[in-house]
């Protein structure tokens, strides 16, 4: 699976946020995206999944050769794209079991779901990500703590089995154990068919799951591409030097 972002520009509420962003992520690749607050990282994630509030003003998004620039969010999801949201929203009254079952049936239309088995799978995944089994009958993110929401994003990834995965600050707001769990699961799930774009502010997660590519977004533009050492440099020097470059 290959995700190609070509000269992508996007605005929200008539404000231009992304300008000519280029990225290419293949299966078996781990990319990190860093950048100062407000640079447009989450905007990129939202644009990638087709969030209707974000308007694409130029460029293309290509997934496995297919132009999905204007595809609906569900079409993108069904094609294998997944975003772990920075701040997942609560959806009152929508039970996790029902939600995941419907989602799964779309993502894997050829598989027959036996409800009881599927629920068992969810419960096992809950154990893996450190959520209590009883969460299965709770509503999506409703009343979840910040960390629980992040854990639930990982659970969805494990259950729904997407291929091209954008993780927007999955490492923010997690306790030490959760952080270790997330890194472990990301490593375990990773394969030649899976691509990651890890949006982060911290070195920590990148130590556990080492990216081959690091990109820095400043002011809606990719200011620099590099390898792991780029993230070390940012850790040491911050972003100011890059702002001058950009």
């Amino acid at each position: 699976m290959i995700l190609e972002i070509r000269n992508l520009s996007a605005s929200v509420e008539d404000k231009q946020i992304l300008k000519d962003v280029n990225l290419k992520i293949g299966g078996g690749e781990i990319h990190a995206l860093m950048g100062p607050n407000g640079a447009g990282k989450s905007t990129l994630g939202n644009v990638l999944i087709g969030h209707p509030d974000y308007k694409i003003t130029g460029g293309q998004i290509i997934l496995d050769g297919k132009d999905i620039t204007y595809a609906t969010p569900e079409e993108r999801a069904r094609a294998g794209l997944f975003l772990a949201f920075q701040s997942p929203v609560a959806v009152e009254g929508v039970r996790i079991s029902t939600f995941l079952r419907i989602a799964y049936s779309h993502l894997h239309p050829d598989e027959k779901i036996v409800i009881s088995e599927f629920n068992k799978r969810i419960k096992e995944a809950m154990k893996t990500v450190g959520l209590d089994e009883s969460f299965i009958s709770r509503s999506v993110n409703d009343g979840f703590s910040g960390g629980e929401r992040k854990r639930f994003e990982i659970l969805q990834m494990l259950i729904l089995k997407p291929k091209m995965i954008v993780l927007d600050e999955i490492d923010s707001g997690l306790d030490v154990d959760a952080l270790r769990m997330v890194a472990e699961q990301l490593k375990r799930y990773f394969s030649r068919d899976v691509g990651y774009l890890i949006i982060t502010h911290y070195q920590r997660i990148l130590k556990d799951i080492e990216p081959q590519f690091v990109h820095v977004l400043v002011n809606g533009t990719i200011a620099m591409n590099g390898d792991k050492s780029l993230s070390d440099k940012i850790e040491e020097n911050g972003y100011d030097w890059l702002k001058e470059v950009a």
């Binding site: 929203v89 009152e92 039970r95 779309h106 009958s137």
Partner: protein, 481 residues
């Protein structure tokens, strides 16, 4: 608790699949059954006399009918709510009877009518979930059954016409007492031309632990249905009475003006659940009221779907000390429909309490209005009341109003009111869609989620019905947002 709920969820899914494969979900069909007897179009003193005569009623009933007819004629069509000018009083058939059957066994029911109820899944539900059931077709109850266990304990459950013949004194004691014909024009009409409905009497101390149900079907075009139902939960007893209704799709409008009178005696517990799904040519104007005596508890659970205009405000008159009531109401205002619904609680004694939860969903250009009344009389010391109205709007044309009316005359009373209006949010929709759900699915899930706390309270088969209708409405609407 939690885990049984997951199972309920699964069960609903399963039931929906089952029903789909049986093709049982299209209520819009109509049967080619010609009425054996009909009073023809329009209403007059003579029509009222005629109905009474066909039914060979006692004279007191005939006189109440005629008295009610006069009240009906003298009262104007109410104009304080939705526009009722479309009701075609002259071209309506006020009484229409399919056949002179009163079966106690489905095999005795004429085949075509039986087929209809089979299609609606009624006999199956009876076998599975109910202590007894009545099926009414147009104006007449055509099928009555009560499991022997309850008959032996003295429970009476049959259509009101039959009860009038067999227990005239009992019926007379309760008929049109909680809801007198003077209450409103539609109540007056009901008392004048009533036919069918249920009579349920639960003796002292008897706890009927399975629900009893009546299923109403209007088949005739431009036919009025005026069933009159009386439930009496005598001292220390408990009972759950259910109603379901459907009508085929016709272009000419029909009128449904029912009365439900519910008497909850001292220490008794009454519950009433109805999910009404009328076709969009029906004006649904029932009057439902409970009298709740000392320590009694009355629960109203209702879902109003379909119909052209529905005006329904189940009321509890808390007449004795410590009487309590709760009212859970869901209104689904589909495109082209108006739901003017709500609840009333009248606190007439100390320590009474009421809780009203009303949820409405407006789809397309559907309009939902919450209209309620809480009255706490002077001397209803320490009475408590809480009203909560939540509305969900699906798009820009959907409309919702809240018109609570509170009359608090007792200084020690505790009254609270909360109201919220929400729209389906882009963030929530996008979140669900980003996991592969279609826009329709995402919005139906959100709507059903909004109704969730009420769905828990309604019986499985009604939950299935609500579930199905919401999904159907969402898919009909196509794009939302």
């Amino acid at each position: 608790m939690e885990s049984t709920y997951v199972n309920k969820d699964e069960e609903i899914d399963r039931l929906i699949n089952d029903l789909k494969s049986n093709g049982a979900l299209d209520y819009g069909f109509h049967d080619n059954i010609n009425p054996v007897y009909s009073t023809g179009k329009g209403l007059s003193r003579q029509v009222v006399e005629e109905i009474s005569e066909i039914k060979k009623e006692p004279d007191w009933m005939r006189r109440i009918r005629l008295h009610a007819y006069e009240i009906f004629m003298s009262k104007p069509v109410p104009t304080w709510g939705p526009d009722l000018s479309g009701i075609d009083w002259e071209n309506m058939t006020y009484y229409s009877s399919p056949d002179e059957v009163k079966a106690t066994n489905w095999d005795e029911v004429p085949k075509e009518i039986k087929d209809t109820f089979e299609k609606l899944g009624v006999p199956e539900m009876e076998r599975k979930y109910l202590a007894g059931s009545i099926a009414q077709y147009d104006s007449e109850g055509i099928y009555n059954s009560l499991k022997k266990e309850w008959e032996d304990k003295g429970v009476v459950f049959m259509d009101l016409d039959s009860a009038l013949k067999r227990y005239p004194d009992l019926v007379k004691e309760y008929f049109a007492k909680a809801v007198p014909p003077s209450d409103n024009k539609f109540a007056a009409l009901n008392v004048a031309v009533w036919s069918g409905g249920a009579f349920l009497y639960v003796p002292r101390g008897v706890h009927v632990d399975m629900p009893l149900q009546t299923y109403f079907r209007i088949n005739g075009e431009a036919t009025g249905q005026f069933e009159h139902t009386i439930v009496v939960a005598d001292e220390g007893s408990s009972v759950h009475y259910l109603e379901g209704c459907t009508a085929p799709v016709y272009s000419k409008d029909s009128l449904h003006a029912a009365i439900v009178e519910y008497y909850v005696m001292k220490n008794a517990h009454g519950r009433y659940t109805s999910v009404q799904n009328w076709s969009k040519s029906v004006y649904n104007m029932p009057t439902k009221r409970a009298w709740v005596e000392e320590n009694g508890n009355m629960e109203w659970v209702g879902g109003s779907l379909g119909s052209k205009i529905t005006m329904i405000y189940p009321s509890s008159y808390l007449r004795g000390r410590n009487a309590t009531t709760s009212n859970l109401n869901i209104a689904l205002a589909e495109s082209g429909t108006v739901k003017d619904t709500g609840a009333k609680a009248i606190h007439m004694a100390p320590n009474t309490s009421s809780k009203i939860i009303a949820k409405s969903v407006s789809l397309g250009d559907g309009k939902s209005i919450y209209r309620g009344l809480v009255r706490i009389n002077k001397d209803a010391v320490n009475a408590k009341s809480h009203v909560q109205c939540d509305a969900l709007l699906i798009n820009d044309e959907s409309v919702s109003y809240t018109m609570p009316h509170d009359e608090i005359y007792e200084p020690t009373a505790n009254f609270t009111h909360e109201a919220t209006v929400g729209k389906i949010g882009t963030e929530e929709l996008t979140y669900l869609r980003s996991r592969g759900l279609s826009e329709d699915e995402a919005s139906s899930l959100i709507v059903l989620g909004f109704l969730d706390d009420v769905m828990k309270e309604i019986p499985m088969e009604f939950a299935v019905e609500m579930n199905r209708l919401v999904k159907l409405e969402m898919s009909k609407m196509g794009a939302v947002g």
